[in-house]
């Protein structure tokens, strides 16, 4: 999801960079005020951990492999301000050390992956964790949060590419979000399993971040809403030309086939004329399916480990 150089025009790059800088500034101020000194080195180690964890490969079908992205996991384990700082540091290093992600796109990448992704992840983690009880609830919340954070960052990324005129919204959104709905499944599963490993090894580490950060969430929420309003809202209106409408239709069918049962692609939603709304409905159904998968995963994993404990 790292946007390279030359993909964003000046207005998008500058706007996204300003939002990212504000987000990082809020996180730094909050961390300086609230983070106890003994947890300051944990920020650097957390960033190094994200790098190292990304080198652990997870086998996917056909000899390929995937890896953790880490925004939601770090947000759940360290809290939001720390996660924003950690992910921003990782992105800066990826940009200048490994040439992953462009210099002019660093602000946009930072907004997507260091502000939107941890925020969406933590919000979902807290909400679901509050609704579902016990350790299973925590694991299911982590799985769903990992998926949501990946998809949210992908939506922001597609919006920025569309606002720059590089890749049209009608093409970019289904492509970006469709792919990341699949990548997000892996991200959610890895996050949940790793989170559960931490819970079993050192419960107090996982519990440390569960405390409240309500005021912080509101601030980042405002920021993310502003970003969504800028990058995404202009494209939520009816499609401007025939080519894009066709592409939207194609993209929608592709995505619906990915996200939901195949019959959905040919199904005419009653009373829904706009393909945009239909896409949103398909996305919502996809999210529900993934939520079911997350709960299923938590049941399988947590029960399995209980049997192991009896060994």
């Amino acid at each position: 999801m790292h946007i390279p150089d030359g993909f964003l025009d000046a207005k998008t790059a500058v706007t996204a960079a300003s939002l990212a800088v504000v987000g990082l500034g809020v996180a730094l101020r909050q961390a300086k005020r609230e983070l106890p000194p003994r947890r300051v080195p944990l920020l650097g180690l957390g960033a190094a951990f994200v790098f190292a964890a990304q080198m652990v490969n997870f086998p996917v079908a056909g000899g390929t492999s995937g890896h953790l992205i880490g925004a939601a996991l770090v947000a759940a384990l360290l809290g939001l301000p720390a996660a924003v700082i950690v992910m921003a540091t990782v992105l800066i290093a990826q940009c200048f050390l490994f040439a992953d992600g462009g210099v002019t796109a660093l602000g946009a990448n930072g907004f997507n992956m260091a502000v939107v992704a941890p925020m969406a992840g933590l919000l979902v983690f807290r909400l679901i964790g509050r609704v579902l009880p016990g350790q299973r609830g925590q694991v299911a919340a982590m799985a769903f949060a990992g998926w949501c954070s990946t998809v949210a960052a992908a939506v922001a990324c597609a919006g920025q590419l569309a606002w720059s005129g590089t890749v049209g919204w009608a093409v970019g959104l289904p492509a970006m979000v469709g792919i990341h709905m699949i990548i997000g499944l892996g991200e959610g599963a890895i996050s949940a399993l790793a989170f559960y490993a931490v819970v079993r090894a050192r419960p107090e580490l996982a519990a440390g971040a569960v405390g409240s950060a309500g005021a912080g969430l509101v601030r980042y929420g405002l920021l993310a809403t502003l970003g969504v309003a800028l990058f995404v809202a202009p494209f939520a209106c009816p499609w401007p030309d025939g080519l894009e409408a066709v592409a939207a239709k194609l993209g929608f069918e592709h995505r619906a086939a990915v996200a939901a049962p195949a019959w959905l692609a040919d199904y005419q939603f009653p009373g829904i004329a706009s393909p945009g709304v239909a896409t949103a409905v398909a996305g919502a159904i996809g999210a529900l399916v993934v939520f079911g998968l997350a709960v299923l995963l938590s049941w399988v994993v947590v029960r399995e480990k209980r049997e192991d404990d009896g060994r």
């Binding site: 790292h2 390279p4 150089d5 030359g6 993909f7 964003l8 000046a10 961390a31 000194p37 003994r38 947890r39 300051v40 080195p41 944990l42 920020l43 650097g44 180690l45 957390g46 960033a47 190094a48 951990f49 190292a52 964890a53 652990v56 490969n57 997870f58 086998p59 996991l73 700082i85 950690v86 921003a88 540091t89 990782v90 800066i92 290093a93 200048f96 050390l97 490994f98 040439a99 462009g102 210099v103 002019t104 005129g165 590089t166 890749v167 093409v171 970019g172 492509a175 599963a189 890895i190 399993l193 790793a194 559960y196 490993a197 931490v198 090894a201 050192r202 580490l205 080519l243 994993v301």
Partner: protein
């Protein structure tokens, strides 16, 4: 939090293995990081913003990059390898831009800009030690907490990567038969334990920093 000294750390033994190791002997490598960083920003921002029709600008950037490679004696093969690693991103976006039709900047523009900027960053990384970056950022006025995090991350990046690899080796040597249902459970367990070890190491680092008079 003011006691951390950001100097050029001695060349890390694993830096070269990770493909991130700058060669420190060339003339270009010994230049201070600040001017090189400014030059990189000018090149990249110029390339991204200026119209593609100004082909002379892109020619000048390409010539400068080639000069930097020659003067800095940058090893060419790792450079090409890293460019190749990131080529699919540029290529993929170029294809997407081509599909988008005539309203966008066009796939040639996307490919040209993306390729040039990518090369610039890769060459910059090859002639500048990353350890110089925290000091530079601190002088520019970036908040200390972020600079500390960046410096600590760079210090422990390779330590933790080694640790992850050691854990994977140990796990592989103990796991004779790998059941399918554990194909993701085992690596995830390693990721989780890695976080536990990272936070334990952070505690030790905090105590060590305090012992050295940090705040």
């Amino acid at each position: 939090m003011s006691g951390i000294h950001f100097g050029a750390s001695p060349a890390h033994p694993h830096a070269a293995a990770a493909g991130a190791g700058p060669r420190l002997e060339g003339l270009l490598q010994r230049l201070p990081a600040g001017p090189k960083f400014v030059a990189l920003l000018v090149l990249v921002v110029g390339t991204a913003v200026l119209p593609v029709a100004w082909i002379w600008w892109h020619a000048v950037v390409a010539a400068l990059l080639v000069t930097a490679i020659v003067v800095g004696q940058v090893p060419v093969r790792p450079l090409l390898w890293r460019l190749l690693c990131f080529a699919p991103f540029v290529g993929g976006a170029a294809v997407a831009a081509a599909w988008h039709g005539s309203t966008g900047p066009g796939w040639r523009a996307v490919a040209l800009r993306g390729g040039l900027c990518l090369s610039a960053v890769v060459v910059f990384g090859a002639v500048t030690p990353f350890a110089a970056l925290p000091g530079l950022l601190k002088r520019v006025g970036v908040p200390t907490l972020l600079v500390t995090t960046l410096a600590l991350m760079h210090r422990y990046l390779f330590v933790l990567s080694d640790e992850a690899q050691r854990m994977q080796r140990a796990r592989a040597s103990r796991t004779l038969v790998r059941p399918r249902r554990l194909a993701w459970g085992l690596p995830a367990e390693i990721v989780g334990r890695l976080f536990v070890r990272a936070s334990e190491r952070a505690e030790r680092i905090y105590l060590a920093m305090c012992a050295r008079g940090w705040r």
